[in-house]
Subunit: 413 residues, 2 copies
């Protein structure tokens, strides 16, 4: 292997990558393999970025420390998905799926020949099975809301699930189209706002695919995954954006874990009735602002003159972050297209942004399921009222008089 | 603002940044502000990368979509930490803290003048307060293991905590020294293994500080944070590496959430006895390999001839990832140096790697607290036996006869 460091900032005097990607082609073979894994095959690369997202930084530490060969290629024996998933017609539409690789779970099969010949092609999706158990589900059984069936749900609260991990794969022309902006403007912002990550975003317009180093998503399926994509299959879904403080530690300033647990109940019920339940867990901590910003905002909310109240809830985030929210639900519907889902019968979310993004992509939502009032924690009333006033799904929008009342705890209570 | 895109791949013909960083200086003023925020002040930058880690990609989307001004600067009013933390003598030792900014929580105060003059300096640490509530703690109260005191722990299971979010800030010469490698080798691996992220790693050796786009950590404090750093203060700690499948969903293939909940019990007890409890939650999903790799490995473990057993537990990870583990506990002790902790009285972890990393940094561990056997989930025996055989803290190392027995479930059970 050469000792020469190959920089990435200028085109190599070629017209383009030797194996261009035909995004939205009808088969994996026509689309072609995505090659992003390493700088050791620069002429063969057809994507910007690399696999495993930001964990590539740890891979770098492993190589630097001498624990990992710099050209290690994964042995994919026995790793294939445990269920058949797709193909669905949406996979061949370059406008429907632009932020994940629809063929990404079965690259070891589709591109076996190229991999055997030494090309470094890696899965961007993995699908396995698991048993999960959450105290809230045990409580739901005890309360008689959930009934064990010995198949999907055991009497001890164990739930049989299929689960999938998905890394983001962005087709840059498609992402730009989805936001209604120029591809060049998207590439420039991606370069500049990340502190100059990946100059190829601006120097290599011929490379159309980008594997951004952001967290991906995890899907939890309840019931028979292979029923998805059939028009008669009823689907329940909770689409959940990560909130570590609530999801893991049960912080009472928001409704995240309670709504997630409620969504899982809704999913189990749907599976028990012969449909499919689906939880989509997106790694978008703190509205994709990250936890440092989130905690700064908490302090500003609690300390402001007049106390923590719905009226100024979004304003405090905007002062620190410049925006109220950075999650951009525009890309979120892709996963439903990937699963062949055109209709969601029970949608456990009150977010108008999520709902609007689905509608814009032609995915029908039949019933919106609000979080039961009893599950809203003490300090989360400020957030709930603020969101309802801003367009959240609700039967009763709070009026101005309610929004000015400080309902949040003080910092030192 | 200029329409010209400034690339980052070559030095600008200067001897170095206009405000070099004196890492390990005795005061924040002498160390100097870290300037990494934007490409709009290229001459003033003294760090590679940017704030908010990988969430900078979402910031880029916000700018590209026209929702955020490209030069937005945060308004830090009311965001300051809720407790006094440090300074501790360790902050002035450039060999002890190399992966976070010890002054990062109070930049708005230390560098008020520079910020007022327009310099974009941002906090890399935020500290707030919260109430948390986990069903396991409610169960511990019911079982009589935990006693509510109306201060730290309420009868309904609510726990008062202080919490901190910390973004990684790497001083590259220090990181290289910690791993015993050349700084140039570290920089090269970071560039190459990330698919060419940040050419400045190799073109700008004068920039010594790097904000890597990886997840940071969250600290949960139980008891009086301001007692930390005093030799008489007893400390209990659970150092936890993220495992979303268990931490949130309660997957039974590992001990992650049960050990975390147990660690929190240990921390609450310590706080009730007048000491301080600390949970460090590191965003290192799947041993810093990410969830796609983790799920691929699960499939390979369950499908291998002979079934899922401790004997081949690490091997299956190595086939796919090239290493058994990428967490690199070498950098982990920094947070204890930052908190002024030189002795941990109760350490709720069995990991020999974590224990060894603390010892190498001169941090004493008095008592190691194993997870109670009753808390180990059904399918997690394979992992537990494999780790004990490999050096995990235990009273009884499993013998070869035990390691060959398949104790894990099959994929379709």
């Amino acid at each position: 292997m050469s000792d020469h460091i190959v920089l990435t900032s200028h085109p190599r005097g070629k017209a383009g990558p030797s194996s261009p990607v035909s995004w939205g082609a009808a088969t994996a073979a026509e689309r072609g393999p995505l090659v992003a894994a390493s700088l050791s095959q620069p002429a063969l690369r057809n994507a910007i970025g690399t696999h495993s997202g930001s964990y590539s930084v740890y891979r770098a530490l492993a190589v630097a420390a001498g624990h990992l060969q710099r050209d290690h290629k994964p042995d994919l024996t026995d790793t294939a998905p445990v269920v058949t998933l797709g193909p669905h017609p949406q996979w061949a539409d370059p406008h429907k799926i632009i932020s994940l690789d629809p063929w990404g779970h079965r690259v070891a099969e589709y591109f076996a020949e190229q991999i055997a010949a030494g090309l470094d092609v890696r899965p961007t999706i993995a699908i396995t099975k698991a048993h999960i158990n959450m105290p809230e589900l045990v409580a739901a059984i005890a309360a008689g809301r959930l009934k064990p069936d010995g198949d999907i749900l055991e009497a001890n609260g164990d739930v049989r699930v299929t689960k999938a991990a998905i890394e983001p794969v962005w087709y840059l022309p498609g992402v730009a189209e989805r936001f209604g902006i120029k591809e060049s403007a998207l590439r420039r912002a991606l370069f500049e706002q990340t502190g100059g990550m990946f100059p190829e975003l601006v120097t290599r317009p011929d490379l159309k695919v980008f594997l951004p180093p952001i967290g991906g998503m995890t899907l939890y399926f309840f019931g028979d995954v292979e029923k998805l994509g059939k028009p008669e299959t009823k689907v329940a879904c909770r689409l959940h954006d990560e909130c570590n403080g609530s999801d893991v530690f049960g912080s009472d300033i928001c409704t995240c874990r309670p709504y997630l647990a409620h969504g899982i109940e809704v999913c189990i019920e749907m599976a028990q009735q012969g449909g499919v339940g689906l939880v989509v867990y997106n790694r978008k901590e703190g509205r994709a602002l990250g936890e440092v910003t989130k905690f700064l905002v908490y302090n500003a909310r609690k300390r402001q003159v007049g106390g923590d109240r719905a009226e100024t809830y979004f304003e405090r985030t905007e002062c620190v972050a410049g925006v109220q929210d950075m999650r951009f639900q525009e890309l979120m519907p892709d996963v439903f297209h990937w699963l062949g889902i055109t209709r969601i019968d029970r949608w456990a979310s009150m977010s108008n942004m999520k709902h609007g993004a689905l509608a814009a992509q032609g995915i029908e939502v039949v019933e919106r399921v609000a979080i039961p009032d009893a599950l809203i924690p003490a300090d989360a009333r400020v957030e709930m009222d603020a969101k309802k006033a801003a367009g959240y799904f609700t039967e009763k929008v709070p009026d101005a008089a309610e929004l000015v009342v400080a309902k949040g705890r003080g910092l030192h209570e």
